[in-house]
């Protein structure tokens, strides 16, 4: 019957059987009239063998490997010592509770692992490739870039790609923690790991499986355990000295006092056995990594990947956060923010806003520059039937086009200067596209001729929208103990100033070239006492991310290089996740420290009580197993609270 059970079920079965026998033996032990003493002893021994067989046999095996400080060995020596001293009940109790503690540890660890295995579920098992003779189901590893795959409702997108046919909405919550579905249509890029909620999608794959979003995330999560936090390293080191120290004290305690006092051997050996029971550092060795594991898990549940527990630890000490502007605090998507037609001499507008926008859209109709695209997007009308000809690009300045016989220009201040226009607004906190008309094309001989004088028609202001959560994020950061916020940008001062003051950022440095960012950051980091974090997304942010104490990358829009250089990746680009991560970090460290202090305090207290003869094995078992269980439960709070944290956002 036992064969069909898992190892853990067998363990529980053994514990239950031993516990029942133990309780019966205890009752009979305290009622000596009912059963003869030898029968009671046999019951105790039976319970001991059931629950102690595993540890004792392991101890024997380990002894042959020369492992003296193995916990099985220590428990075996302590309990056999107790049996020799005829402390039957205590010997069984120690073994029984030891087994219960082990079983609980397994349960807790498996439970925590299960809680982040949701994240591991993002891995797709198959991909449906479209071939000449239909469709075949293959391993995602076998798909090459350029292949066309088909994804049906309910399926997970196996590889990154671009939709070639079909539309629908995707659930990206496994990647970003964001529960609102995103709508996708033909021509849009999609990430592996998202679930197709409705609609059949044909996708042209753009990367091999190993380079896909899913593979990268799994790699990050699986490697997150390799960067251990300072507290974890301390515990490992401490454990290496603690156990031998306690065991040798036990030995000294068993031998030296009886020699000096000429007797009392059994009393002192009993005290030494207590030491052996307390000598296992299990409570710390398990509960501290468990807390960090829970913290990393909590972060991943809200769509933030922490690459190692040392980064989670360092996040708690961050007091200065430096931001990149575009793509980090702003969306990185240019939008028309204002349309200002020029005024005629009588004070009326030369044309309506729509007319000016339409004109600009026509001049820029063949340009693919982000600014041109934003203008065309704002205009939204069909441009195809319009009478536009002789379109030329004036490099670094703008565009020239002939529309219905007239020559028009759209471009920057430099272009206006060339056209002899000097009366235009310059100091606005946005990128301005100026539009001018140089009169009839016929009066100018050929497309190359530059006009003597042109008429200024007005300008269109283009700006990069601030992310909806950015302002809230900054104020939450200040509440969570960030003293100083700085924004670095390559943009003009006037734009930087506007964004910074709108968001409540303390300082900003503008007009930086990519190399200048690292230098500016260097100055901030050397002038700061606490840890300095940098948040960025672009490819030119990678050196700064690497230089920072903690580098946070925006994962959704961010470049691969930035994500690789970063320590923490925010999958959905939402800056308001930063204060949440800081909170998770602080709570994780709090729990880890509580465990360290509590476990050490109890262990040392019981060691002292044991040495002076005021403790018994029940208390020692509490100091070992009881403390372990309490510490593990404390660490598991981190896993439970991660669910709440996820719900709060």
């Amino acid at each position: 019957m036992l064969k069909n059970l898992s190892k853990q079920q067998k363990d529980i079965f053994k514990i239950a059987a031993a516990a029942v026998i133990f309780v019966i033996a205890m009752v009979l032990h305290h009622l000596p009239d009912i059963a003869p003493a030898p029968a009671v002893i046999l019951l105790f021994l039976a319970a001991y063998i059931i629950v102690g067989y595993g540890p004792v046999s392991k101890a024997v095996v380990n002894i042959s490997h020369g492992k003296v400080f193995d916990e099985n060995f220590l428990m075996t020596v302590a309990t056999i010592g107790a049996l020799v001293l005829r402390q039957w009940d205590e010997a069984v109790a120690v073994m029984l509770f030891y087994a219960i503690g082990e079983a609980f540890e397994h349960y807790a660890v498996n439970k925590s692992r299960g809680s982040i295995s949701d994240l591991m579920d993002i891995c797709p098992d198959f991909a449906n490739r479209i071939t000449e003779d239909g469709e075949e189901t293959v391993d995602p590893y076998d798909i090459m870039p350029g292949d066309i795959i088909i994804v049906r409702p309910g399926e997970r997108i196996p590889l990154d790609g671009v939709i070639t046919e079909g539309a629908g909405s995707l659930d990206s919550s496994a990647l970003t923690g964001e529960s609102i579905p995103i709508d996708v249509a033909e021509g849009m890029a999609v990430s592996s790991g998202c679930i197709d909620l409705n609609g059949v999608l044909k996708i042209r794959v753009t990367s091999e499986f190993d380079d896909s979003t899913v593979a990268r995330i799994l790699d990050l999560v699986e490697n997150s355990g390799s960067k251990k936090a300072r507290v974890e390293k301390f515990i490992t080191k401490f454990a290496r000295y603690y156990t031998p120290a306690v065991v040798f004290s036990a030995l000294a305690l068993a031998v030296i006092p009886p020699l000096i006092l000429h007797g009392g051997w059994s009393d002192w050996i009993y005290r030494a056995l207590l030491f052996l029971i307390i000598s296992c550092p299990c409570a710390l060795v398990i509960s501290v990594p468990l807390a960090f594991f829970g913290g990393v898990g909590a972060a991943s549940r809200i769509g933030v990947l922490v690459k190692g527990s040392d980064y989670l630890e360092a996040m708690a000490d961050v007091d200065t956060i430096v931001f990149d502007k575009t793509g980090t605090l702003t969306t990185g998507i240019f939008k028309v923010a204002g349309i200002t037609p020029a005024l005629a001499e009588d004070g009326s507008s030369l044309m309506t806003e729509d007319q000016l926008l339409g004109l600009a859209a026509h001049i820029e109709m063949y340009s693919n520059h982000p600014i041109a695209r934003s203008i065309k997007e704002a205009y939204a009308n069909d441009l195809s039937d319009s009478n536009v000809s002789d379109v030329t690009e004036i490099s670094g300045k703008g565009m020239r086009a002939v529309i219905e016989g007239s020559v028009y220009y759209a471009g920057n201040a430099g272009l206006m200067h060339d056209l002899g226009i000097d009366d235009y607004p310059q100091d606005e906190a946005a990128t301005l596209v100026h539009i001018a008309c140089a009169g009839s094309a016929d009066s100018l001989s050929g497309a190359e001729a530059e006009p003597e004088h042109a008429l200024y028609l007005g300008h269109i202001a283009i700006s990069d929208a601030i992310k909806p959560n950015a302002q809230k994020a900054i104020s939450l950061m200040k509440q969570s103990g960030i003293d100083r916020t700085v924004m670095l940008t390559g943009d003009r001062e006037i734009i930087a100033d506007k964004v910074a003051s709108e968001l409540g950022i303390d300082e900003h440095i503008s007009g930086l070239l990519p190399e200048g960012k690292v230098e500016a950051f260097e100055q901030i980091i050397t002038g700061s006492d606490g840890k300095v974090a940098f948040v960025g997304d672009g490819i030119n942010d990678a050196p700064t991310l690497a230089r920072a104490d903690i580098g946070l990358a925006m994962g959704g829009m961010g470049q691969q290089a930035a994500i690789e250089a970063a320590d923490i990746v925010i999958m959905d680009d939402d800056p308001s996740k930063i204060p949440v991560i800081k909170r998770i970090s602080k709570r994780t460290i709090g729990i880890a420290k509580q465990n360290v202090v509590f476990a050490l305090a109890v262990k040392f207290a019981v060691l002292i009580l044991g040495a002076i003869g005021l403790a018994n094995m029940w208390l020692a078992v509490f100091a070992d197993v009881g403390v372990s269980v309490i510490c593990i439960l404390n660490s598991m709070r981190m896993i439970v609270s991660s669910r709440k944290e996820a719900e709060r956002i």
Partner: protein, 71 residues
């Protein structure tokens, strides 16, 4: 070179720490870390394939049932 391996039957956190210490003592190993929580070993060495049997030896001494899964 750095490589990550899954460990099977890694049962106790203290054992993981002991294995990690033992593997780090190998001359060929630059750095090794074992995560009990993720049941993984990350190892940095010049010739990883040659190191794996030795690492397995260190692991078996601590926990005989524990195996490195080589894909």
């Amino acid at each position: 070179m750095k490589k990550s391996f899954k460990l099977e039957n890694l049962d106790c956190a203290n054992c993981a720490a002991k294995m990690e210490a033992a593997i780090n003592k190998l001359d060929e190993v630059e750095e090794c870390s074992i995560s009990f929580m993720t049941q993984r070993m990350n190892i940095v060495a010049d010739d990883i394939d040659a190191v794996i049997p030795k690492a397995q030896e260190c692991i078996s001494k601590v926990e005989p049932d524990c195996k490195i899964i080589v894909r």
